[in-house]
């Protein structure tokens, strides 16, 4: 099977609080896989398990049909790259220095880069359009620029899977589109598997080819966007008034939040189109 990630009865808890319960699913090679769900549904925990930051407490997690425990940190870093949410950096590295750090798992014992590593970094920076920022300090960049720098670093690791934790969370519309298009191009060009956690259901619908909807650590729905994004599943997961119809672009479901004040006036439209 061409499975990139496969979990069986995967569970995880923080102390007594179980956040993931018996998850069994697969992500296939070349998927643009988006994990959605309300706050506290276990999305980020799941991503951290796949990235190797957390170790599974129960169940199995396989990357390319090899159990997680068979990977060393270095081998895992050459297979899976992780792009975190935008976080403050205390020590100011330049953009080039940070992107080059993506080469670390490929370097020898002294950890010094060769010409080839620099070339790979330059190409990654060109790919994410940050080459003009090469000598700038990372802590002086805007959110969108910084996100692209971290994606360039992930590309430098030459992984087969890239994980992203809410990459569009604090970006404006243009930058959201830019980051998502970038990931789509990357998937096409390098035959990568993309796994992303997102709060933006509409972006998930437009870019993801398979969606996983979680609630309270359990799978509500898994499949293509038109199967997952129905009124029934979304209402069950989010427990708030929603409107689901087709996007004016066609092809995609569109999810609209219905504010409380509209509920009585538009009682009838709720549930339509799902």
């Amino acid at each position: 099977m061409n499975r990139a990630v496969c979990t069986r009865n995967l569970s995880y808890s923080y102390g007594d609080i179980e956040v993931l319960k018996d998850l069994s699913f697969s992500v296939y090679k070349g998927d643009f896989f988006v994990i959605i769900g309300p706050n506290g549904s276990g999305k980020t925990t799941l991503l951290k398990l796949i990235s190797g930051i957390f170790e599974p407490l129960k169940g199995t997690l396989e990357i390319f049909d090899r159990p997680m425990s068979h990977y060393s940190r270095r081998t895992l870093a050459k297979t899976v790259a992780f792009v975190p949410q935008i976080a403050p950096i205390d020590f100011p590295f330049t953009v080039t220095e940070l992107v080059l750090m993506g080469r670390s798992p490929h370097l020898g014992i002294l950890g010094l880069e060769q010409e080839r590593d620099l070339e790979i970094a330059m190409r990654a920076m060109a790919f994410t359009s940050v080459e003009h920022l090469a000598d700038r300090k990372v802590d002086q960049l805007s959110g969108g620029e910084r996100q692209r720098v971290f994606i360039a670093k992930a590309i430098c690791q030459e992984p087969q899977i890239i994980l992203l934790d809410e990459p569009t969370a604090s970006l404006d519309l243009a930058h959201q589109a830019m980051v998502m298009d970038l990931m789509e191009r990357l998937k096409g060009k390098k035959a990568l598997t993309i796994i992303m956690v997102s709060h933006d259901i509409n972006l998930a619908a437009m870019y993801g080819n398979r969606l996983l909807l979680l609630k309270e650590g359990k799978i509500v729905s898994l499949g293509p966007q038109d199967e997952v994004l129905t009124f029934e599943t979304l209402e069950k997961a989010y427990e708030c008034p929603l409107l689901v119809d087709e996007s004016p672009l066609g092809q995609f479901q569109r999810v609209t939040l219905v504010p409380r004040k509209f509920i009585n006036a538009h009682q009838k439209i709720l549930g339509r189109g799902g």
Binding site: K48, S51, G52, I53, S72, R73, R74, L76, A77, K78, V80, A81, F82, P84, A87, I89, D90, F91, P92, F93, T94, E97, L98, M101, G102, S104, P105, L107, I109, L110, G111, L112, E113, K153, Q157
Partner: protein, 328 residues
């Protein structure tokens, strides 16, 4: 790569220069010319000066290099490990732990070397052990808990030191205070060799971890997913650095400020890449300490000042000037 070699080479030249002055100049008041002659091995020089140069100044300069290098590198490592720019080599209570050891040694009437040094080393190792026993795997990986445990151990040991000082009344009190200020005046070749054998392997080991230190600074999760085994790296850095700093402190007391100011100065000038900062801290710290020690023994008309006084009096203003210029 090239940059690391070029800058290291330049700093090595500075270090050689500082060594040269450190050996030639001193409180005996003999002329530079005569000292150069003696250094070059000329036969007709004053045997007294020859002895001063080779048996007193030379070991002292070497000791200063080792101490300055170890303290700067120690500060650099702790700043990366704890991701806190205020971290210094004594942050985890190493200095106060060895202080207690040294004071007990002095009170027991041991000789300065090796007796008091060994007692001081035992004290700092006991502190490290206490810290490791106190903290679980989880607290060591969380930067703030390790930092807080260290601060608490430090405070407790400092109180013990105060207590020990308060019950001491005779001439040993002077010895204790002088030890606590940190000084290099007791250097001899045997001591230098023992210290060198202890800390040179630590330098090499820490250089191999310099790329991991870069990654640690981008955050724990980023480091892990870029191939760093956090637990192994944290444990190695913690133990190697503590060993290195403890060895230094036990030989010449807690000389302050070098470990805080040198890594910051070099980071302001050279950037944040630890593959460059590790060799730069070793060479720069050594140079700084040699020069400060030179001032400590030549500035006062009579006797000498503790080296720690000079390192702080020069370091603090220098640092503030650089910080202001960088901020503009």
């Amino acid at each position: 790569m090239k940059r690391i070699f070029a800058i290291s080479f330049l700093m090595l030249i500075f270090l050689m220069g500082a060594m040269f002055f450190g050996i030639l100049m001193g409180s005996t008041g003999s002329g530079l010319k005569e000292a150069v002659h003696s250094l070059l091995g000329a036969r007709d020089t004053n045997p007294m000066l020859h002895a001063i140069i080779w048996q007193i100044r030379f070991p002292r300069v070497l000791l200063a290099i080792l101490v300055g290098a170890a303290l700067s590198l120690g500060g650099l490592v702790f700043q990366a490990l704890l991701r806190n720019p205020l971290a210094e080599p004594y942050i985890l209570g190493i200095s106060s732990g060895s202080g207690i050891g040294a004071i007990i040694g002095i009170l027991a009437g041991l000789s300065r070397f090796p007796g008091v040094s060994l007692a001081a080393f035992a004290g700092s190792m006991a502190t490290l052990l206490l810290l490791l026993v106190m903290s679980s795997e989880q607290t060591i990986l969380k930067r703030d808990s390790l930092l807080l445990s260290g601060v608490m151990v430090n405070a407790f040991c400092a109180a013990l030191i105060m207590f020990l000082i308060s019950i001491t009344q005779d001439s040993r009190l002077h010895n204790i205070l002088f030890w606590l200020m940190g000084d290099l005046s007791m250097a001899d070749m045997g001591q230098v060799i023992i210290l060198g054998v202890t800390i040179l392997p630590c330098f090499i080991l820490l250089f191999f971890f310099s790329n991991s230190m870069n990654l640690l600074l981008t955050g724990k999760e980023m480091a892990q997913t870029t191939g760093v085994n956090i637990k192994a790296v944290t444990a190695t850095l913690l133990i190697a650095t503590t060993l290195m700093v403890s060895a230094t402190v036990s030989h010449c007391g807690p000389i302050g400020f070098v470990g805080l100011v040198i890594p910051h100065l070099l980071r302001l000038i050279l950037g944040s890449d630890h593959r460059l900062l590790v060799p730069a801290c070793i060479l720069g710290g050594g140079t700084y300490m040699v020069l400060c020690d030179l001032l400590a023994r030549t500035l006062p008309g009579q006797g000498e000042m503790p080296a720690g006084v000079v390192t702080a009096m020069i370091g603090a203003p220098l640092f503030i000037i650089l910080l202001k210029r960088k901020g503009r």
